[in-house]
Assembly symmetry: C2
Amino acid sequence: MLKLHHHPMSAASRFVRLVLGEYGERAELLQERTWEKRPEFLALNPAATLPVMIEDNGPPIVGATVVGEYLDETRGVFQRDRRLLPEKPIERAEVRRLTEWFLVKLDGEVTRYLVRERVLKLEMKPQEGGGSPDAAAIRAARANLKHHLRYLGWLAESRDWLAGTKLSYADLAAAAALSILDYLGEVPWDDEPAAKDWYMRVKSRPSFRPLLSERVRGLPPVHHYGELDF
Amino acid sequence: MLKLHHHPMSAASRFVRLVLGEYGERAELLQERTWEKRPEFLALNPAATLPVMIEDNGPPIVGATVVGEYLDETRGVFQRDRRLLPEKPIERAEVRRLTEWFLVKLDGEVTRYLVRERVLKLEMKPQEGGGSPDAAAIRAARANLKHHLRYLGWLAESRDWLAGTKLSYADLAAAAALSILDYLGEVPWDDEPAAKDWYMRVKSRPSFRPLLSERVRGLPPVHHYGELDF
């Protein structure tokens, strides 16, 4: 049995949920508010980051990249054509580069700031960092998003899927992050039609359904969030 | 033939050099000053980060984690007892967690700041971010280092090597970062004797020698930096 400590506004958590969905694996989802620094959670992961996965009460598997590799080694390897990492080392390197790009770089320049300022600060107590949103941080994140969206558009235009000819971790990582930004109405899709087409293709996969029906309390998504044709 | 774009003060670059050294691989080293944003380098890696490895004029392999996985798939797998990632997925997950801890978390909280403020700013032009060191950033990084050193000491006390019973990527990642901090005289080794013992064991490996003889122009290391018994 798999348990996944996650948060609906964590792109890294959404990435793992998509991978599990693609491989037909069920997991018990445990929502974690990392800013509360629960001692039981810190004992699982002293870095206090998400996601953390546990299989059969074993030791914690910490972080999206680490969980991704674990799932490739324990599930992906048996998936043949549906495996989300290619076979060749040099092709795997490109998938991993882009997965890191969307889960680390995009997160650190865009997603994390918009989520923090627009969502989490409303839920946090003042001593946890709560309060009114920082308009300068939001502006900076939005400016960065334009560059990232242009790169995404370029990838989507020049390849079938982001890392090559097949759906891979790179697509799920990018779509995990974009789905959060889209929930918040932050994505200027019309600027990058190829990125929009690619996102519609990923979004229509059955693995995406649970994410599209999820709601943050007090913050409904933009109207097209759950629509498969927008 | 392997080419490695690196910088002597980049922990992620040092990590890859140590892995190559352990596996007896030679690489042509190309020093990159990422802050200059050379167009030829940005074409290899638009994220402008180090390291970037190239094998036989193939596509770039970007980032320490991605290079580490590539080297495991193309070299480690043939190394038997000297392989730097264990065989079992759950043990690999622990090695990967710690590798990320030292190359990402420690880097983002300590190493990157001290290197930037104490070394790179002296080399950078004003328009590249050069100038006098920021004393507040240095103080914050030093405070963070104490926590990291305590965690390292705890790992070194409770296990033979940082991730278990064998030398692994986790040890090389930690030692890569610590060697830079040690060069700068930033490590209060006497606070954590178990961490010091562990570092002496890693430091005495032949793969470490090239790092210990390297010098940053105008900034000699602390006197014990190259000594194997300090």
